[in-house]
Symmetry: C2
Subunit: 217 residues, 2 copies
Amino acid sequence: MTKRKAPDIVVGRLPLYLRMLNQLIEEDRSTTNSQELGDRLGISAAQIRKDLSYFGGFGKYGAGYDVIYLRDQLRRILHLEKIWRVVLVGAGDLGHALANYHGFSKNGFEIVAVFDSDEQKVGTMVGGLLVQDVSRLEEVISENHVKIAIIAVPVSAAQAVADRLAAAGVSGILNYAPITLKVPPGVKVQYIDPVARLQHMAFYVGGELNKSSDPGE
Amino acid sequence: MTKRKAPDIVVGRLPLYLRMLNQLIEEDRSTTNSQELGDRLGISAAQIRKDLSYFGGFGKYGAGYDVIYLRDQLRRILHLEKIWRVVLVGAGDLGHALANYHGFSKNGFEIVAVFDSDEQKVGTMVGGLLVQDVSRLEEVISENHVKIAIIAVPVSAAQAVADRLAAAGVSGILNYAPITLKVPPGVKVQYIDPVARLQHMAFYVGGELNKSSDPGE
DNA sequence: TAGATTGTTAATCGATTAACAATC
DNA sequence: TAGATTGTTAATCGATTAACAATC
């Protein structure tokens, strides 16, 4: 029987499990088990079984998991059986890279519109889409029933964009601007901040300034 | 007195505190306090004080924190007083965006070389740097004493690149390829996977498929 | 001193791991 | 049945919050 509401941290691991199952399927594997999944993901087998148990029982006692079946179940749980229409705000270098990235569409996220406020960029093509003026943001979101957006604008514009996205009905924002956004209840924000990640690593790497495996010159 | 070793999750928040302090400095503020920092970051004041306490006491009783002083202390703690030389592997769309992103150099991370295995790309300019053949990876890392690298190559090449980076002396890897890397002990990996983040959000957003604030057409 | 806010301790809460009965 | 691995419970571990003495 399905247990109580899964913690957010558990939900955040499901995409990793899904990714690994897709990889196993590509390797033509038909079954796996919590031990193997854990080894390949750097997670304990117990944790994987516990995580899955929040949503149901998907394995076979003594035999592990059918990779196709578990993959399909995870897709269902994560609401990935439909194609999500996504808008991208910001057509700079990052916006370009995101619009051209095939990983989104391969995984069920279709970028349906790209916006920018720069007159120079509006009207140009980015990733097969015509860049639109950001003034059309609300209109496009409404017409396409868009629920998820990606922010790839400078810090100075990010909060205002988030405000408009939320007001227009978006309830999930993937934010690449290095700023903590204030959003209304019910709107989920995920942050991607490579600088913060590098700084996090620098803490651990930073000990050896001049030592390391360097005999000196 | 400084307490015991700080948990990794605490270290991961320090860059957010640093970012907020830089923002306060730009706003010409001279002091702040744990309450304000917490409010603006969506974190409890108690947690901020606790986090900082792992590294020392940086505030003034009754008066809060001097923003410049705390900023400097965080930079020291995170080993950000030097400029980190970083290599970027992969000169595709993402590599382009990363090489052109000024946020790295503004925060003390200088990309010193860009590599690709595609003959078409080697020799071209990306972000002011000449793209080099990936065969020169070890040589450049060694000559420049590089300790941090960014992987922006396809999944199929990522593990092999990580192996070479680790063997060449890199101890921090920022990985954009959607795959869990196997690395030797002592090598720290941080992952950036926008698809996983979108999937995580889809779980929460996914409930309302056809309902939401839409009266139908 | 009165007021404010830190730094720290103790209490609470939550997540991970270990162990094992269930079961195919 | 014997063997294997799940799903679940209980124990452990770790992180967050609450409370408050310290102190400027």
